[in-house]
Amino acid sequence: MDDSATVQRCLKGEPDAFRMLVERYQGRALGHAIAIIRNRDDAQDAVQEAFLNAHRALHTFDRERVFYSWFYAILRNCCYKLLARRRMDAVDHAVRLDLLESPTLRVDDRLAMERALAALSPTDREVVMLRHFDGLSYAELAASLQIPIGTVMSRLFNARKRLRDGLSGGLAPGRIGET
């Protein structure tokens, strides 16, 4: 059953329909929340709050849109609110971004990439990860982040420059940052 039909069932009051949506997207949402917040417990709280807000606002969902894209705007809002009221020492540096291993990239280079991504600001990390790991186009990034395409370009540009700078000391000779 597609998301639009599931939302329709939710609106009709079928109790299991919302559960289906939550179970379908909770893993993805948690991954995205951890990427922004870098604290698993807080990320879990943000995801719960986002689903509850989404449940309350389901009647405003435009069924022509992709559900997760609509939900992501709510989720990131919850994440940034939580970041704003959270103490800085709540960042859990033990929480890794957990990138999947790749046969074409050495382990230490992958770990250097994880560290460099983790050192970025939440907004930089978010835009880079959405672009590279979720494969979002600029139009999709603009819709998800609720910013104009021109801002997507400059945000991605600056984030990549900072990532490159962060990597310049972390990769083996001849790697990123060396030209």
Partner: protein, 137 residues
């Protein structure tokens, strides 16, 4: 040599690399790169970064948030009784406040109008002012 246009050139080159349409056309970027080593080097570094990121992907994250959400939704469904009691309390308080504040006898219609306004506000806001938001569990 680096010029004020260099940042715009590199940003546009990045955009084309991503398969999107950049604000500056490719012919101009190519022409600029022939004379600007700074931009050529910046663009090469961005390309390398993109190549390094390409084989990586997010690991799946597992987590179970449904039980907490379900519990919260159950509490929310149980609210109507509390909402009715709160509404009654608000109306009674409005009635009594009006009575206490009145120095002179009021026209008969002032009380129902005040209560009506309170009811309207209550319905429009749809917020229980006495509810303490519990932390999500």
């Amino acid at each position: 040599m680096e010029t004020p246009r260099c940042d715009a050139i590199v940003l546009s080159a990045m955009t084309w690399m991503d398969g999107e349409v950049g604000p500056i056309d490719r012919a101009e970027i190519d022409a600029h790169m022939l004379t600007c080593r700074h931009c050529a080097s910046e663009i090469a570094a961005l390309r390398l970064l993109t190549e390094r990121l390409a084989p990586l992907s997010r690991a799946a994250v597992t987590g179970e948030v449904w039980p907490a959400i379900e519990a919260h939704l159950d509490r929310r469904r149980a609210i109507p009784a509390g909402l009715v009691l709160t509404a009654a309390a608000v109306f009674l308080l409005a009635w009594r406040a009006l009575e206490a504040a009145a120095m002179d006898p009021l026209a008969w219609w002032t009380r129902p109008v005040t209560v009506g306004v309170a009811a309207l506000l209550f319905l429009c806001l749809r917020v229980n002012p006495f509810r303490v938001e519990p932390r999500l569990v």
